[in-house]
Symmetry: C2
Subunit: 111 residues, 2 copies
DNA sequence: GCCATGATTAGCCGATTGGCTAACTTTTTT
DNA sequence: AAAAAAGTTAGCCAATCGGCTAATCATGGC
């Protein structure tokens, strides 16, 4: 995937993966099988989701013995949030200017 | 797509579609072919992207004569932004509690 | 009335996605 | 040493995605 935003948004477009992120944020680092236990799918399928999250940089993991522990990497989420809020601010700016224009026109037509 | 967030994030995971959103936010409503002119792909391909955006509720369009004009629908973007910022706040809250715990432990070990 | 313009529909194609099972490896536990 | 637990790898499958061309429809200008 070319852009960072591509893989971030794409990773978050799946409800299983958002649930994993939510759980890691809410309850801290978890083992793969603990995370898996909340989802009704085969483990290899679930592992693929984790790999997508890891490839997007949203999550990291370390293996100790036979247990792999996964934790959130919150920083990249800020990037997506920034994009969205930048668009929102631009959009609100447009509305303000439109507003001003309307007021200007009303003032003009008032005499 | 089941969830609203699914289709929002999925719609925004493509650079062409983000570019369309950016342009509509920055420059206001545009005709389909005006939007298309900025992208090096066949018109039917581009139309599919617009349909994805429209299905996600990020964009609306009206046809007048033979021209279809597309405009942004900013409200749904707030939903994705909210999800992200909620996660960030929860995450920061965890960090704060962790911080407090570390300070507590340091205080304990100090005598 | 005809032609150009703007958009749309239908259908093809290869790559990716999200699911599965089966088989295997590595580490603990007994 | 054997068995159980935790992951991992390989490979299959159907559905979706993002691209294309060709053909069609609808409207506007001449």
């Amino acid at each position: 995937m070319a852009n960072q935003l591509d893989s971030f948004f794409s990773a978050l477009s799946d409800p299983t993966r958002r649930a994993v992120v939510e759980r890691l944020v809410a309850s801290g680092p978890q083992a793969v099988s603990d995370l898996h236990s909340a989802h009704d799918m085969a483990l290899p399928t679930f592992l693929k989701h984790l790999k997508v999250l890891e490839a997007a940089g949203l999550v990291r993991s370390e293996k100790a013995g036979r247990v792999r522990t996964v934790h959130i990497e919150a920083a990249p989420m800020a990037e997506a949030e920034d994009w969205l809020s930048r668009q929102r601010r631009l959009w609100e700016g447009r509305l303000d200017r439109l507003d001003a224009l309307v007021r200007e026109m009303e003032k003009g037509s008032r005499q």
